[in-house]
């Protein structure tokens, strides 16, 4: 065990864990976060996604020691104090989730995609989101929600 200091959702947190522990278990079991969830442990599905310095990272396969010195954002930290991130709002407006277990990864992947490419084409949405899996198969609504979020972010206002 050793002391590891992390920056998570704008706060500094210190934990006493084996440095090889996957970041996922530290976030969930030591810091009590619910956004990132276990899906495969193999970096294949994206359910455990967090943003590290704004980039989507699969926390199931990232040792906690290699998360030090980065700004980690989980689903809980994506929204501001009073309002949801436009991607989250679009997810509600399009009524995207079914079971919702994978949506952490879908939402964070979409937020990262739109930060990188504010006006993606349909093909770019498909390609950009492709490595995040959903077994309820909500892909159709996810893609609609990404398009909606892109429009809202471009307009700078929420469309109703």
């Amino acid at each position: 065990m050793s002391q590891i200091t992390l920056r998570v959702n704008g706060e500094t947190r210190t934990v006493d864990v084996d440095p090889s522990t996957p970041l996922l278990y530290v976030l969930r079991n030591d810091l009590g976060l619910r956004g990132p969830r276990f899906g495969c442990g193999l970096s294949q599905c994206g359910t455990c996604t967090v943003l590290m310095n704004g980039n989507p990272v699969r926390s199931c396969s990232r040792p906690v020691s290699r998360a030090q010195g980065t700004e980690i954002t989980t689903l809980e930290g994506l929204s501001g104090d009073d309002e949801l991130h436009p991607v989250q709002q679009a997810w509600i407006d399009e009524q995207v989730p079914q079971c919702g277990y994978c949506q952490n990864g879908q939402i964070l992947a979409a937020a990262a995609l739109l930060a990188d490419n504010p006006g993606p084409t349909d093909d770019e949405i498909r390609e950009g989101m492709n490595r995040v899996l959903c077994r309820c198969m909500t892909y159709y609504r996810i893609q609609a929600a990404v398009r909606r979020a892109a429009e809202v972010m471009a307009d700078g206002e929420v469309e109703r």
């Binding site: 809980e76 079914q98 079971c99 994978c102 159709y140």
Partner: protein, 788 residues
């Protein structure tokens, strides 16, 4: 939150124990350190006291709903919502009947100590069956409230009007009384009637459809915001004091037996708590989750391979299934004969034959199975996403030797289930380990376990034969299926869950499943449906355990049935839609659900919405790289009818099939929440595409080799259709009937997908794909064989 509110309904004038003993709000009698968001009072039960978690009495109105002093209502149903919006839809129905505004209500689902046993979820019948029982109770509550108001206001009941929880004297809005004033915080103490929970009713009639205001509206789902902002607490999130983490160690070969377990290989690992072995069941427990994962990888177990191969390799599966001697009839109604199919086939002008193969499919939830068991105070509490919490409770009680009254199951959100999944198995394992250890145990399966060891939807080998007369009419249809479903695993059975099987426990007799052929309303005078089960050498402790997977057997049987109707259409040079309508209209007979009329309606609606032009398939094969075609498939399930059209694009260079567009004509009677229905149907269609194009459980002669998302691919964003139209149809002969009922939705659409895609590929190419999944290499091989 609802629990606190329900607790507030208890006025404190009786001791809690007396309160628990009386009927009514004993729904409050729960104990222990619960999940956050659920109250946390300790139960002060002493030895010899009545067990704390009695069954909730469905014959008491108070078991189903509580009206609070502020006039808000809490409903309690014995169902779970896997994300198809059945919770929201149920609230809409109940608010309409009770006359309470939607946002002044809440719903508690699937807690065995608080909600009546409605079996949990399954069969797409949450709205069709269970919400209708709750609806009649809500109507009864409204009736009782009106009687109370009549007393209070000293007028006859029929002089009263009611809206949104307020009752007033017609013509005099100054004389009003609210639901909260009438009964808030108190029990109704009204007995209900009914031979079983599904028949529960009071004296009141439900409202005619025309008076329902919330029903029919696309009210946004209440569970979505918490799933989007990370605030929802899931079953995987629950943490309890002294909780430890468990992982299983599975046999490396199917049917392998434990010779020895060397605990010293892990004893010195940090956080080690214990190794638990009984028979061929092996698990490790550690203080921390990552420690349990490491210990499960490190534990030295000596396994002995079985003398005989447990099953054929998946490449030889269908030859094996057709060549072996069947063991059983495959359940009830396994052979159905109408007319004389042999004579009709012998006299037919044209006879068509085809064989269809459908592999094992897995549930492979996005989050592997898990369960948390808390053995505190000599009781057992299970936190799970199992969609059947009631049988989870009774099955676990039996397995660990407790009375059901000592066990409660708290259902919480979790990864998708869609049938008899390993959530059952993980909960039993957690409970058994918790019982051994005396500490709360969280069991979490790995991705490999989830994919390899979850129950499977059975493989089918189906042989079809059909006869046409000289005019192209279908005169005979012969369906013969073999199904690899010898020892079908039921829900939460103490003698078939995986841990029981590995411990050497066996059911008294295996339960072969899957007896029926395709569900359609075609008028074909001579037909036969025969299903026979086949078995493998290893029937138990096998990763090829079969259990219900979304629409059990429906996609498999409809793939054969609806592909073959297209083969007959091609042989008759008929348009596939025209032939189906001809077969549906061929008989004047109807059934009580008007299924035939509604079958015709969905086929017509799908064809119209798609813009289907009448012509036989296949079309002239194009010369470009991308070939396009369209295909239709129709089915019913219970009382719901569906017709789905798929438009595909096939890359002749790579063999990749993309379903570019789907149109689904769907009649499930009364629609409660159109957007929720559309979302559910979309999910079922896409899951159907995934099973059709990609999914197959692969195995060699020793073990399942599909162990992750690379070896068991699933539909991705890239494969998603460009456009999906769900056309909601009401084909009832009397569409405005005031007693129109909702029928099940979800699974009915799922079964139409495989044949719609295969028929579209045939339309585009003339190639008939008869073996699922339709992966690119298989499509390419067929295209090459046809010289395309």
């Amino acid at each position: 939150m609802s629990v606190e509110r329900a607790m507030a309904a208890w006025d404190g004038s009786t001791s809690r124990r007396d309160f628990l003993r009386t009927s009514g709000l004993f729904v409050l009698g729960f104990s222990g350190a619960g999940a956050a968001g659920v109250s946390r009072w300790g139960f002060d039960g002493a030895a010899g006291e009545p067990a704390p978690y009695p069954d909730v009495d469905f014959l008491q109105l108070d078991s189903w709903l509580v009206v609070h002093e502020d006039g808000t209502a809490t409903f309690y149903v014995g169902k779970t919502d896997g994300g198809q919006g059945t919770g929201t839809a149920t609230r809409q129905i109940l608010c309409d009947e009770l006359d309470v505004a939607y946002d002044r209500s809440e719903l508690v689902m699937g807690r065995t100590d608080m909600t009546v046993d409605q079996g949990g979820s399954g069969g797409s019948d949450a709205i069709e069956r269970d919400a209708m029982a709750a609806r009649r109770v809500a109507a009864e509550a409204r009736r009782v409230l009106l009687e109370m108001a009549a007393d209070r206001l000293a007028v006859p009941v029929d002089a009263l009007a009611v809206s949104d929880g307020v009752i007033w004297v017609r013509g005099d809005r100054s004389r009003t009384v609210g639901y909260g004033e009438l009964v808030g915080g108190r029990r109704f103490d009204v007995a209900l009637m009914g031979a079983n929970v599904n028949a529960t009713t009071g004296l009141a009639s439900v409202k005619p459809v025309q008076e329902l205001k919330l029903v029919g509206q696309s009210i946004p789902r209440y569970d979505i915001p918490g799933k989007v902002d990370g605030s929802l607490e899931w079953a995987v999130d629950v943490k309890l004091p002294r909780m430890v983490h468990a992982r299983n160690v599975r046999p490396p070969f199917a049917g392998a037996t434990v010779v020895g377990v060397d605990e010293s290989s892990v004893r010195d690992l940090p956080g080690f708590v214990g190794v638990f072995t009984e028979g061929n069941y092996v698990a490790v427990v550690c203080e921390r989750e990552e420690q349990a994962i490491a210990a499960a990888e490190r534990l030295a177990v000596l396994w002995e391979k079985p003398a005989r191969a447990p099953f054929p390799a998946s490449d030889e599966l269908f030859d094996y299934m057709r060549g072996t001697t069947p063991v059983g009839g495959g359940g009830r109604a396994s052979a159905q004969v109408q007319g004389d199919p042999d004579v009709a086939l012998a006299g037919a002008a044209t006879v068509v034959e085809a064989a269809y193969d459908i592999p094992f499919h897995g549930h492979t939830a996005i989050g592997p199975a898990h369960g948390l068991a808390d053995p505190s105070d000599g009781q057992m509490t299970i936190y799970t996403n199992d969609m059947k919490p009631y049988s989870h409770r009774t099955g676990i009680a039996e397995f660990v030797g407790m009375s059901p009254e000592q066990v409660r199951v708290i259902w919480m959100d979790g990864p998708q289930l869609y049938g008899r999944t390993a959530a059952d198995d993980a909960g039993f394992e957690a409970a058994w380990l918790a019982n051994e250890l005396g500490r709360p145990v969280r069991m979490q399966w790995s991705r490999e376990e989830e994919t390899a060891w979850d129950t499977k939807g059975p493989a089918f080998a189906i042989d079809m034969k059909g006869g046409l007369d000289a005019d192209g009419n279908v005169v005979a249809l012969d369906y013969r299926a073999r199904i690899a479903n010898y020892a079908h695993v039921g829900y939460n059975q103490a003698d078939t869950v995986l841990i029981a099987q590995l411990m050497g426990i066996r059911p008294e007799r295996p339960s072969p499943g899957g007896g029926r052929g395709p569900d359609e309303m075609y008028h074909i005078p001579n037909r036969r449906q025969v299903t026979r089960a086949v078995r493998f050498p290893l029937a138990f402790e096998t990763p090829l355990r079969t259990g219900n997977l979304r629409d059990p057997n429906g996609p498999q049987t409809a793939f054969a049935g609806e592909s073959f109707i297209d083969e007959l259409a091609a042989a008759a040079n008929a348009d596939p839609v025209e032939l189906r309508l001809r077969l549906l209209r061929g008989s004047g007979e109807d059934d009580d659900a008007h299924r035939r009329a509604r079958s015709i309606a969905v086929v017509e609606a799908a064809a119209e919405a798609y813009g289907w032009d009448l012509r036989p398939s296949p079309r002239a094969v194009g010369s470009g790289r991308l070939l396009t075609g369209r295909g239709i498939s129709y089915a019913y399930r219970a009382r719901t009818t569906v017709a789905t059209i798929a438009e595909v694009e096939i890359d002749r260079e790579t063999g990749r099939v993309w379903v570019r567009r789907m149109v689904c004509g769907h009649d499930c009677g009364l629609v409660i929440n159109p957007d929720g229905l559309e979302s559910t149907v979309q999910g079922n269609l896409l899951h159907g595409i995934s099973r059709t194009l990609y999914e197959e459980v692969r195995f060699d002669g020793e073990r399942v080799t599909s162990v992750d998302w690379r070896t068991h691919p699933t539909l991705t964003h890239m494969d998603t259709p460009e456009r999906i139209d769900v056309v909601i149809v009401n084909g009832d002969p009397n569409p405005d009937r005031p007693d129109l009922l909702p029928y099940g939705a979800g699974e009915p659409s799922h079964r139409t997908v495989p044949a719609a895609i295969a028929n579209a590929i045939h339309d585009a190419t003339g190639v008939r794909m008869r073996r699922l999944p339709l992966r690119p290499e298989r499509v390419l091989a067929e295209l090459e064989r046809m010289g395309l």
